[in-house]
C-alpha cells in the first residue's frame, strides 16, 4: 500500500489488510469497474472514521452551523424590531470596534478577564502546589474542598455573594459591628464583586488543571537540582516552574476565555453602568432587537477567544519540550 494513514487508537493494521485482501478476492470474482473497486478500498481503509461520526455530527449541528448562521446574520442589514434583510455590511463590526462607548466595553471586559486570570493563577499556583505534593487523607480533603462547590448551582453561588458582600451583608455587618467603618462599604454591584464572582467560577477549574500538571512533575528532579547546588527557590524556578508553564498557559486560557464570555456573573453582580461584551450581546438581541449588531458583537467576542486560544497553544507547545 502506497499511502498508509496511522490512526491513534489501537487497531491491528495487519488484520485489516488481510481482511481487505479477502474482500478484494471476493469482489474480483465478479466483474467490477475499477472506480467501484477503488471507492470500496477507500471506504475500507478509512472506515475507522465512522467512530468519529456521532461526535462530528454533534459538533457540526450544534456548533459549526450556528456559528456560520451567526456570521451570516452579522453581515445583514437591520430594519428594526428584530427584522433584518440579507446584505453584506460590516456596519456592526465597525461600530463596535470604533464607537468609544463600545470600545470602553471591550476594554472593561478584557481588563476584568485579565485581572481574574492573573489572580486565579497567582493565588492558585501555591495552592495547587501544596495539594499536588500532599498525600493521603490530606489530599482527598483538599480535592473535595475544591470540587464540592462545583456541585452547587452557579446562580445559587452568586446569590451567596449577595449575602456576603451586600450593604447589609456579612462583611459590612462585621466591620460596622467592630467600629472599623461608619458607613457600609459598597462592594456589591461593582467591578470588585464581578471579579470576585468570576473567580468563584474559574478558580476550582484553574486549581484542578494546575494540580494535575504539577502532579506530573517528578519530585526527584527538584531534589536533583538542589543536589547540584541550586537553592530552594532556584531549583523550584529552574525545574518545577519551567516545566509547569504549558499547564499554566492552559489554566490561564481557561480562566481568561471563561471570564471574557461569562454572562450570569456580570449581569447579576455588576453595576448596570459597567457593561461587558456578553451583556451587550444579550441586550442588542433581546431588548434593542438589533440582531445583526448583536451577532457582530458575538462574533467579535468569539474571535478574541479564538485568538487567545491560538496564542496560548503556541506557549504550551514552546514550553512542552
Amino acid at each position: 500500500m502506497s499511502r498508509e494513514t496511522v490512526w491513534f487508537f489501537p487497531l491491528d493494521v495487519s488484520m485489516v489488510s488481510v481482511k481487505l485482501s479477502a474482500h478484494k478476492a471476493m469482489f474480483k470474482a465478479i466483474p467490477m469497474t475499477t472506480w467501484l473497486e477503488k471507492s470500496f478500498e477507500i471506504y475500507h481503509r478509512n472506515r475507522f472514521l465512522l467512530i468519529f461520526l456521532p461526535a462530528l455530527l454533534i459538533v457540526v449541528i450544534f456548533f459549526f452551523i450556528p456559528i456560520i448562521a451567526l456570521l451570516r446574520v452579522s453581515f445583514c442589514e437591520s430594519v428594526g424590531m428584530g427584522v433584518y434583510r440579507p446584505a453584506f455590511r460590516l456596519d456592526g463590526y465597525v461600530k463596535f470596534l470604533t464607537d468609544p462607548f463600545y470600545v470602553q466595553i471591550i476594554i472593561y471586559t478584557i481588563k476584568n478577564a485579565l485581572l481574574v486570570t492573573f489572580i486565579a493563577l497567582a493565588a492558585g499556583y501555591p495552592v495547587a502546589y501544596y495539594v499536588a505534593r500532599a498525600s493521603g487523607i490530606k489530599k482527598i480533603i483538599c480535592l473535595l474542598l475544591i470540587i464540592v462547590p462545583l456541585w452547587t448551582n452557579l446562580i445559587v453561588r452568586i446569590y451567596g455573594w449577595f449575602v456576603i458582600l451586600g450593604r447589609q451583608g456579612f462583611i459590612n455587618t462585621m466591620l460596622l459591628g467592630t467600629g472599623l467603618i461608619d458607613e457600609p462599604l459598597s462592594m456589591i454591584f461593582t467591578s470588585f464583586s464581578v471579579v470576585i464572582g468570576l473567580l468563584d467560577v474559574v478558580f476550582p477549574w484553574v486549581l484542578l488543571i494546575l494540580i494535575s500538571v504539577l502532579e506530573g512533575i517528578d519530585w526527584s528532579m527538584m531534589e536533583a537540582a538542589r543536589d547540584l547546588g541550586a537553592g530552594r527557590f532556584r531549583s523550584f524556578y529552574e525545574v518545577t516552574f519551567k516545566l509547569s508553564i504549558p499547564g499554566v498557559a492552559v489554566a490561564g486560557l481557561f480562566a481568561f476565555v471563561w471570564s471574557l464570555g461569562e454572562y450570569a456573573v456580570p449581569s447579576l453582580l455588576g453595576s448596570s453602568a459597567q457593561r461587558t461584551i456578553s451583556i451587550e450581546v444579550v441586550d442588542q438581541i433581546l431588548n434593542v432587537l438589533n440582531w445583526p449588531f448583536g451577532a457582530s458583537i458575538a462574533f467579535i467576542l468569539f474571535s478574541i477567544s479564538v485568538a487567545v486560544l491560538l496564542i496560548s497553544n503556541r506557549i504550551s507547545q514552546r514550553g512542552a519540550r
Partner: protein, 358 residues
C-alpha cells in the same frame, strides 16, 4: 581522615525506624556499597548523606567536616538518582552545565568541563539532544556525567542500574567501575543486587532492618558471613539445624537433627544451649556415588532432581526432611548420568561448614 563518616545515625519516620544507629567510615577513593533487601534503610542512609533527608539523630561528616545540618546544595556530594531525574526541558549540555552554573563557574570552564565529561561517558555529539531522545543506557550515562561534572568529593548512586536490561546493566557495571577507578572518586552505591555489589565493590556493608549486619570486602562477606542473614542474602546457603556435642579450639562436632554428626571448623559464638545452624554453600558440596573414605563430612541422601543451568548443574538432594541444593560444574560431573531416586553421598570439608547460632 575519612571522606565520609556516619556516627550513630538514626532516622525515624513516625513509628518506623528506617536507619537504626549506624556508624560507618569510608576512605578516600573507595567504592563502597550499601547492600540489603528493599526496605532495609539503605536508600534513606544515602539520602541522609546527600542532605535530602534529615537524620533524627547522629552526625554526618564529609571530609572531616560536620555537615549534618547543611542543605544538599551546600554539600560536596552529587547524586545519581534511581529514576535519573534528568531535566526533560534542558538539552544534555544544559543538564550537565546546570551544576557548574549553580556553582557560578566561568563560561569557559563550564564549556570545557561539560565536553570533557561528555567524552568520559562516551556521549560526545549528544550535547544538543534532549533526554527524551536518548535510550535508557544513554540517559543513565548522562545522569552519571551530570553528577561527576561538578567534581564532588563524594559520588552517591541510588540503584542507578535497576531500570536497565541485563546486558546493558552488566556493561554499565564495568563502565562505572572503570570511571570510578579512573578519577579515583569516593563513591557510595546503593543496591539490592548482590552481583552488582560483589563485582564492583571495594567494600560492602550489608544492611537489614536499618542496622548493619556486616562490613567487609566482597570476598570476606561471601566466604565469612557473620550472620545467618548475610549468608542467606549473599549467594545461596543450605541450612541444617543441630546441637554441639563437642567443642574444641579450632573445631566443633555437631549432631544434626537428622542424626548424622558433622565437623565444622573455627567455631565462633556457639550459644550456651549448644543449638546451632550449619550453613553450607551449594558449590561447596561434592557429590559421590560411592561412600568415600575421607576425613571430611559425609552425608547420605537421595537424588530428587537435576536441572541444567548452563555452566553448572543444580542437584536437589533429599536429606531427612530437608532438601539440600548442590551445584556441580566439573566436566566429569556433566557427563555422569544420575538417576532420580538414587542413593548419593555428599562430601563437605569442615572448613566450608559455617556455624551460626540457631
Amino acid at each position: 581522615m575519612f571522606d565520609v563518616e556516619l556516627i550513630r545515625l538514626t532516622k525515624r519516620f513516625g513509628d518506623v525506624v528506617a536507619v537504626d544507629d549506624i556508624s560507618l567510615e569510608i576512605n578516600q577513593g573507595e567504592f563502597f556499597f550499601l547492600l540489603g533487601p528493599s526496605g532495609c534503610g539503605k536508600t534513606t542512609a544515602l539520602r541522609i548523606i546527600g542532605g535530602l533527608e534529615n537524620p533524627t539523630a547522629g552526625i554526618v561528616k564529609i571530609k572531616g567536616q560536620d555537615v549534618t545540618n547543611k542543605p544538599p546544595e551546600a554539600r560536596d556530594t552529587a547524586t545519581v538518582f534511581q529514576s535519573w531525574a534528568l531535566f526533560p526541558h534542558k538539552t544534555i549540555f544544559e543538564n550537565l552545565a546546570f551544576g557548574l552554573k549553580m556553582r557560578k563557574k566561568s563560561r569557559q570552564e563550564i564549556n570545557d568541563k561539560t565536553y570533557a565529561y561528555l567524552e568520559l561517558v562516551n556521549l560526545t555529539g549528544f550535547e544538543n539532544r534532549y533526554p527524551g531522545q536518548l535510550s535508557g543506557g544513554q540517559k543513565q550515562r548522562v545522569a552519571l556525567a551530570r553528577a561527576l561534572v561538578v567534581e564532588p568529593a563524594v559520588l552517591l548512586l541510588d540503584e542507578p542500574l535497576s531500570a536497565l536490561d541485563l546486558k546493558l546493566r552488566q556493561q554499565m557495571r564495568f563502565e562505572i567501575r572503570r570511571i570510578q577507578k579512573n578519577i579515583h572518586i569516593t563513591t557510595i552505591f546503593v543496591t539490592h543486587d548482590q552481583t552488582e555489589a560483589l563485582t564492583m565493590a571495594d567494600r560492602i556493608v550489608i544492611m537489614n532492618n536499618g542496622r548493619i549486619e556486616q562490613i567487609g570486602t566482597p570476598h570476606d562477606i561471601y566466604y565469612h558471613p557473620k550472620s545467618k542473614f548475610t549468608s542467606d542474602f549473599i549467594g545461596e546457603t543450605n541450612f541444617l539445624t543441630g546441637s554441639v556435642t563437642r567443642l574444641q579450639a579450632d573445631e566443633i562436632m555437631v549432631e544434626l537433627s537428622e542424626g548424622t554428626r558433622i565437623k565444622a571448623a573455627a567455631a565462633r559464638d556457639v550459644p550456651p544451649d549448644g543449638n546451632v545452624l550449619i550453613g553450607i554453600r551449594p558449590e561447596h558440596i561434592v557429590l559421590r556415588r560411592q561412600k568415600p573414605q575421607s576425613e571430611n563430612n559425609i552425608l547420605q541422601g537421595r537424588l530428587m532432581d537435576v536441572s541444567f543451568m548452563g555452566a553448572t548443574r543444580r542437584f536437589h538432594i533429599e536429606f531427612g526432611k530437608k532438601i539440600i541444593a548442590v551445584d556441580s560444574g566439573g566436566a566429569a560431573e556433566h557427563s555422569a548420568q544420575y538417576c532420580q531416586g538414587e542413593n548419593i553421598y555428599l562430601e563437605i570439608e569442615p572448613g566450608n561448614c559455617l556455624v551460626f547460632p540457631a
